[in-house]
């Protein structure tokens, strides 16, 4: 203020604080302008692709007509939600979505961790690198290709069907039987994502302090004990954060793989919320209803994330916010 040279003699304290804050911001901008410039694209990106489309949620409460637009369509409040709750598919969709993601979590979450721990114990650098590279490969195969391989293996006479037959399951093609759908879905997911998902754990392992191992060694701990008391606690924060983030995606099972894999014969266990939204929204052009279903899905998702975060914070001080 002094620099302007014409400041009034009596300045109220509130004004002074405001002035000081203004000055601090200006100073901060002058010092860190480069950082702010770098942040602009990210902010713009999120604003354009994540915040503006959120306006479309309004459709869920309307009888949306393309010609009338979002502002002109008839307002029907919760009718779309009521229709969904009363639909014959409601419980089946909820059940399938939850089961496929709970099973997915139980079976596929531990694998990358175990894989990373195993790799960590391998002495030969060369063997380690080769194994790691091979395990990434499936990640880069298009999901369409993965599903066609799966289809081929699981048709009647396919190799997996024949293996199942060896173990006494002779009811034919696995791919057209609802009781096999989840196993195939999750199993192929594990195969495809194992290597890629383990990268983050491998890097977390690299940052564990080597002196801790030495100390444990001097205290007489073998390799197993070292893993249990040094390695795992070392990467635990990473595991928990990834687990919370995974929980936030709980109800978000992608529709791509499902619509490639399912058929009327397996709808019973395969049809999930997102594939239903796809069918109703794109296939039948019923935009407001599918928005309502998707919004409902997102709310459940958010609730799960919130609860998981609360639980984690109270138990271990690790949390997203």
């Amino acid at each position: 203020m002094q620099s302007t040279g014409s400041a009034p003699n009596i300045v109220t304290s509130a004004e002074r604080i405001r002035a000081r804050r203004k000055k601090a911001i200006r100073r901060d901008l002058r010092l860190n302008w480069a950082v702010y410039v770098m942040a602009i694209p990210v902010v713009v990106y999120f604003f354009i692709f994540y915040y503006i489309p959120m306006g479309g949620i309004v459709m869920a409460f309307e009888n949306f007509k393309i010609r009338k637009g979002i502002l002109g369509s008839e307002w029907i409040w919760f009718q779309n939600f009521i229709d969904f709750f009363n639909s014959v598919y409601f419980w089946r969709l909820i059940r399938n979505t939850i089961l496929i993601s709970v099973y997915g979590l139980i079976y596929s979450f531990p694998f990358p961790i175990i894989f990373a721990l195993c790799l960590n114990e391998v002495r030969s650098r060369k063997f380690k690198k080769v194994t790691q590279t091979i395990s990434y490969m499936p990640y880069f195969i298009s999901i369409v290709v993965v599903v066609s391989i799966l289809n081929d293996f699981c048709k009647s006479g396919g190799i997996l069907t024949q293996i199942a037959a060896l173990f006494g399951d002779t009811k034919g093609a696995l791919i057209s039987r609802p009781e096999w759908f989840r196993s195939l879905y999750i199993g192929s997911n594990i195969w495809q994502h194992l290597g890629y998902n383990s990268i983050i754990y491998i890097s977390a392992l690299a940052s564990v302090d080597q002196e801790l191992y030495e100390a444990a060694y001097i205290d007489g701990a073998g390799r197993w004990r070292q893993t249990l008391h040094v390695t795992i606690p070392g990467i635990l924060p990473t595991i928990v954060i990834l687990l919370i983030m995974r929980l936030g995606q709980m109800m978000n099972v992608g529709y791509e793989k499902t619509i490639l894999m399912y058929s009327p014969a397996t709808y019973e266990t395969a049809d999930i919320i997102s594939s239903y939204v796809y069918r109703v929204g794109i296939g039948d052009a019923n935009y407001s209803y599918s928005t309502a279903v998707d919004l409902f899905n997102s709310i459940i998702n958010f609730l799960i994330l919130y609860v998981a975060n609360r639980v984690s914070r109270s138990l271990s001080d690790i949390s997203l916010w």
């Binding site: 007509k65 229709d83 289809n151 009647s156 057209s176 609802p178 019973e268 069918r279 039948d284």
Partner: protein, 536 residues
């Protein structure tokens, strides 16, 4: 017995000859082209949504096709073809409304490619023009409306609107023929020493023989929904696959006992290995079978197109030199029955499934209508169906008696340049032009194919409901809200009943579920639409 067989085969040969001789001459409507060319003094480019991706495998741009090169020169209009990916036509069409990118015209199949609120609504909401107001630009099209009363009736909606310019199926003689139906491998039948099956019991015998004596993997091939889309095979049970009518009363197949009986039979066949084991995961939802299955003698019978009867699959790569496929009439419960359901879509009411609709906000509405109208005049539709005039003796030849055109079968199926039959179709003439001359397809085909067409059209389709019944926007909104879920559910349950994942003992509770989903309301709405149609 031997003599009897001799007489029978003689009778068959006679019937075949009769079949081909009995073809009445095509009544060519609209002999003069009332349009004047060029349509536009300056060259203009218009967008045409053209869902023919199936033909794009070998011809990457329809502008390279002989017919369209000629037509562009004539009209001075360049067409920018917009071709949606195969299998996504329906989705792609509904997205046209959501995007701001409506093409000047769309050559669509309204049965599967639709505006959610119905055809009237698409006009009311300002997407497409009401063709009824623009008929003055379409003098050739008007001739058709005046010629066939059934066609005129089908072209208008209940409120007197016209969705677009509807395609015509120009029949041979008075009654149009079916171009698809049930087909069976005659060489297999000969091997197991059986006649062409007539009743469902005969079918059972034949399919068992295929399975036991020849080891056929799929004695009967069905679509992924378990039942064939057009209901050919269930016709003998006196029901249709979805909605059908009995003397003006609308019924829904799955609600009827006969439908349950049909599923019971299919379930039995499934258990005994007479159906395709993989049917539920096949990608085909309609006619024709998985190529690998067909070419390698794994299919005994199926629903197929008439153009593929006889030994056509050999040109597609089948290795068995004895390959011979023939058409079969719909099976019956007992001999002498007359199945009445047939939904072969093209042909009923002289109307085919395609319709050209025009963007209401397009810059060149008049030009586009006049461009399309040309296809409805004889000088143009003959070339669209048979190849250019200059191609006489190459793609077509003139009949000796009256000079009408006949497609050259060998040029199409044993092409001198080695082009596949699918490529010849789009390279020299056009696929499914607005006016389809039935004789182009039938007259040039082999006697056994002609016999197939005749057998498939044997029974009058009295139970079929016209595709052209229309609903009001409100009715349509209510109907599609209810029926979309119902149809998915029915398709799913059909598969489950056939595969035994749902017990047929629970059929009553299944019907109860359909009632709770609102099937009765849907039937009521369809009934109202049909009543209005009949009163038009």
């Amino acid at each position: 017995m031997k003599r009897f067989l001799g007489i029978l085969s003689l009778a068959l040969v006679l019937a075949l000859c009769m079949g081909s001789m009995a073809m009445a001459e095509t009544n060519y409507v609209c002999p003069e082209n009332a349009q004047t060319y060029p349509i536009s003094a300056d060259k203009i480019t218009v967008d045409l949504w053209y869902p023919m991706a199936g033909s794009m495998a070998e011809l990457s741009d329809f502008n390279d096709a002989e017919f369209f090169v000629m037509y562009e020169e004539l009209t001075n209009m360049h067409i920018n073809f917009i071709v949606p990916a195969s299998g996504t036509e329906g989705d792609s069409f509904s997205l046209l409304f959501a995007s701001d990118d409506m093409p000047d015209m769309a050559y669509c199949q309204p049965a599967g490619q639709k505006y959610r609120d119905g055809q009237d609504a698409a006009i009311d909401d300002g997407y497409f023009i009401d063709m009824a107001d623009y008929l003055d630009f379409a003098p050739n099209y008007k001739v058709w409306l005046e010629t066939y009363e059934a066609y005129r009736k089908a072209c208008y909606s209940d409120t007197g609107k016209m969705y677009g310019m509807w395609g015509v199926w120009l029949p041979i003689g008075e009654i149009p023929m079916a171009d698809q139906g049930i087909a069976i491998r005659k060489d297999f039948l000969d091997k197991v020493g059986k006649d062409v099956p007539v009743t469902y019991d005969d079918w059972y015998d034949v399919l068992c023989a295929f399975r036991d004596e020849l080891g056929i993997e799929a004695p009967f091939y069905t679509s992924k929904y378990g039942i064939d889309r057009t209901g050919e095979f269930m016709a003998g049970y006196g029901v249709g696959p979805y909605f059908y009518q009995v003397d003006g009363t609308v019924k829904y197949g799955p609600m009827e006992d006969a439908y349950k009986d049909y599923l019971t039979m299919l379930h039995k066949w499934w258990e005994e290995g007479l159906l395709d084991k993989e049917f539920a995961t096949r990608t085909s939802s309609g006619i024709t079978a998985d190529n690998d299955m067909m070419l390698n003698d794994k299919v005994g019978s199926l629903i197929d197109y008439g153009t593929r009867l006889a030994d056509v699959y050999i040109t597609r790569g089948a290795t068995n030199p004895d390959w011979w496929e023939v058409g079969v009439a719909q099976p019956v419960l007992k001999e002498g029955d007359t199945p009445a359901y047939r939904d072969y879509s093209s042909g009923n009411d002289y109307m085919q499934t395609y319709c050209t609709v025009f963007d209401a906000e397009g810059e060149y509405i008049e030009e586009c209508i006049r461009w399309t109208d040309g296809f409805y005049s004889k000088p143009i539709y003959l070339q669209a169906n048979f190849g250019l005039d200059a191609n006489e003796g190459k793609t077509w030849y003139a009949a000796e008696d009256d000079g009408h055109r006949i497609q050259d079968y060998d040029f199409r199926y044993k092409n001198p340049d080695g082009d596949s039959s699918a490529l010849v179709l789009v390279k020299y003439w056009t696929k499914n032009p607005p006016v389809r001359v039935e004789s182009a397809q039938i007259e040039s085909s082999k006697p056994v194919q002609q016999e197939g067409y005749r057998l498939w059209s044997l029974y009058e389709p009295t139970m079929w409901i016209s595709n052209r019944t229309t609903m009001t926007a409100d009715e349509n909104a209510e109907y599609s809200k209810l029926y979309t879920d119902i149809e998915t559910y029915v398709q799913e349950c059909n598969v489950k009943f056939i595969m035994g994942q749902m017990s047929l003992d629970d059929y009553d509770s299944y019907r109860e579920t359909l009632r709770s989903m609102g099937i009765e309301k849907c039937i009521e709405l369809r009934q109202a639409a049909l009543d209005r149609y009949n009163a038009r």
